[in-house]
Every structure is written in C-alpha cells, then in structure tokens.
Symmetry: C2
Subunit: 225 residues, 2 copies
DNA sequence: CGGCCTCTGTGACCGCAGTTACAGACTCAC
DNA sequence: GTGAGTCTGTAACTGCGGTCACAGAGGCCG
C-alpha cells in the first residue's frame, strides 16, 4: 500500500511547506532517495550515545524525546510533531556529534529519513530550508531554557497545572504518563491531582482529567498560590 | 587605544579560526561594519524579552547566561567564552524571536557585534561559517538537555561536586556565586561544602575551595554515594 | 463468573533543600 | 584602631517530593 512518488511529495509539502522552495525535480529525487521508516508506538527511534542515520521528516505520529534514569524515572524534554523536525537529530548531523537523549515513537510513526549528504546539500543550497532549520533550533533552545527554569524553580503542582492546560479541555492520560512527562513519579501526581480536584479545578476519572476551572488552574500554574 | 583594523582582524582570526575562510576583503569589511562594545563586569549584555541587535563575537571576557526568579535566585544556563559565540543570540537572529534569558558580563567584556544583515550574509555564503554556527547550536542543545537531566534528577551535592571538578584544582568563588550557578542558595552550598570538607574531599578557605581528593569528588558527582 | 492486569487511592515515613535568624570572622577604608 | 561591609558558619524549623507498602476498583479475557 505504498503511496506513489507524487502522492508522497504532496503529503510532504503539505506538512513541510518550506519544501515548496524545491524544484519538482529535486523534490522527486528527495522522495526517491529518502528512506521510509515505520515504527510501532513505544519503540525507540534513536538512543543516547548513538550516532545519527539521517534527517527525519515526520509524516505521521510523534516522537517524544526523553531523558531517563537508572531507577526508571523518565522526563520529557520535548515532543516532535509532523511539521517540525527532530532538531536533536539535525544537531547531531550538523554538529557531527551523538544523540544525547532517547527518542520514542508515540503513535504509529512514519518517517522519511533524508541521508546526511542530501540534508547538507539542502542546507547549503536552499536558503528557505536553512531558515526553517534555524527556526527549529531557535525554538528548541528557548523551550529547553524555559524547561530548565521550570524544573529548577517551580513546584510540581505548578508544572502539572501547566501541563494539563496545554492539553486541552479533557486530558486522557494515566497518572504514570503525566509523571513521566514531569520527571516525577505516579504517587505524587496522584496526590497533586487529588489536591487540584479538592480545589475544584479539575474532575478526575479513569485515565482522564477534565479541567473545570481553567482560570484557576492558570493562576496556579503562574505561581499564584 | 583603538587597535588598527588589521590588528583587530588578527585577533579575531586567532579566536575564531573559522573566519580564516573569509577573503581579506570581506574580513576587513567585517571589522569596519561591526560595532565594538565594551562592558564592565556585572552589566547586562542582553535581557529577557528584548530583541537582538546583532551577532556578537567575544574578544575578551565572558558572558554568563542566566535565568533568575522574582525572589532573587539565579541559575546559570551556560557561559560564553571567547571563541564560541552566544548561541542564544544567533538563535534570536535566525529565529527572529526574542531573548529568553539574561546575559551578564563577567570579566571586562569586549564584543564585536555583527549587524544582522552581515551575519545572514555569512551564513548564506560561507559554508564553514555556517558549519561553525551549527556546531555551536548542537553543543548548546546537548548541554541544555544535560542540564535539564541534572537539575531534575541529581542531588545538589552531586551537582556541586561536578561544578567544583570543572573548575580546576582550587576554586576561587564565594558560596553565593556557586549557589547562583546551581540555582540554589548560599546556606545550602555552605552546608554541603562543609559536608565535602568533612569527608576529606576539599579544604575550605575564604573565597576558596581546594580540591584534595579529586577521585572521591568525581565518584560523588557520578552518583556514587 | 473468576482470575489477571492495569490504574488509582492512600497512609506512614524520610530526607533534601529552602527559610529564617543570628553570630562570628575577615577585609578594607578611613 | 574602629566601623562598615562582605563572607561564612550554623542551628531550628518547614515543607515538598520521593519511597514503600498496601488496598481497592475497573476492565479484559478465558
């Protein structure tokens, strides 16, 4: 059930408008030389201290990039969605270094992996593509700095509140999953959620948290007691 | 006491070998169009939510890039030395976004600030310069990810040990300064240092910590109890 | 229905880090 | 030398977050 070359090109351009700057010839070539990879949820996309096989464009699914400890705790650094790209990978490619975190497929994941040579060529020849990549870098760096600040200075209930707010009206996730994003453990998340429920900010259900007082939650997230 | 153009060019190339890839014509032009800035220790080089005046090359001194809180606590994100460049700035320039942290001059600081247009031109036309900038990005991202992990998962005594190890044989700094790097407070650093001294790992003096058992300290830093 | 597995709730306990509030020690300027 | 300012030590207390050890509760499957 492989999409034809031109179908693929269309999907690609829809997700990555920047690729519109390529001539159809280059784009076709890209689609042909790039390796297509499918991964089941939960499988590792890349691992710490590994070197890097190419530049991935995400067609479907997401990658969560995490640090984890020997004791099994885990912490989300960021999430890569279709349309942006795994900047850690570009950083490895361009910096000729190794991964410094793990990437894990979250939904069924489809990638198009550009070989390094092609990636370098695009960077060199396509100003818009280059801009696109730089943009990603800039965002990630800002995000990471923000994350450092939050982990260093904010209480866990604030960070939890913020996380919930970012997830829309009702959040479908286990407490364990939330803990893994925050770098904490299940029991604490349960305890804090109970606290939030007690304040009438959320309503809890199995694998589900419904936000009922968005403003209150935001106030908490912003450091208001 | 202004250095002549060619003297400046020499200093620049000595610190930034990558600039060797420029023709002397371009290099001279660079020296002429770039703005030279001198700042006293402690003054702000840039501030959060500010936008960005250009790409700085550091001729002398260092910049510490920090996040700080309303309550006066402070945390070092990284330090910029002559030879590397303030990547947060490039990220602002290239991502057309704003600073997300503060930069503070540490020693008497001398910068050469390239106007954005010139910077973009170098990025576009000079593959080696581009590579250089990408390299910086890659390193910073890896460093920041590492920092997140440490703040999230490591105890303060471990992080303190690591910090001391990175500073050579004897560290000249106040406890407050160390606390500011770690995102902690003076009393805790004092307490922990006393602990380290008690274990025979360091010897304390006024504004000075001498490492006497490097291996022991490393063991502590690596998570060994 | 019964058994298994995952998810959640909860209480007791602990330790690290931060806060508050001092006191003493050292340095430097006058 | 005297006093101001900075740096350090330190004790008492607090609270957050983590650990341990369970007990239910809901879902899924045979």
């Amino acid at each position: 059930m492989e999409a034809s070359g031109s179908e693929l090109a269309e999907r690609l351009v829809a997700l990555y408008p920047v690729l519109r700057c390529l001539s159809t010839r280059v784009l076709t070539e890209l689609c042909q030389t790039a390796r297509r990879v499918q991964l089941a949820p939960g499988t590792a996309v890349f691992d710490e201290r590994q070197s890097c096989p190419g530049f991935p464009l995400i067609l479907a699914g997401t990658i969560k990039v995490v640090k984890s400890t020997a004791t099994g705790r885990e912490m989300l650094l960021y999430r890569v969605e279709p349309g942006d790209s795994c900047i850690i990978t570009s950083s490895c490619l361009l910096g000729h270094s190794r991964y410094s975190a793990r990437g894990i497929a979250e939904l069924p994941l489809t990638l198009l992996v550009l070989p390094p040579s092609l990636f370098e060529q695009l960077i060199a020849e396509q100003p818009l593509f280059r801009d696109f990549v730089f943009h990603l870098f800039a965002e990630r760096i800002a995000e990471l700095m923000q994350l450092v600040e939050e982990v260093a200075f904010h209480r866990l209930d604030q960070r939890l509140a913020k996380l919930l707010l970012a997830r829309g009206e009702t959040v479908r996730a286990t407490h364990q999953a939330l803990a893994d994003e925050l770098g904490s453990v299940r029991e604490i998340v349960s305890r804090l959620l109970k606290g939030l429920a007690g304040q009438g900010l959320v309503v809890l259900g199995r694998e589900q948290i419904s936000i009922v007082d968005r403003d209150g939650l935001r106030q908490l997230a912003d450091g208001g007691r």
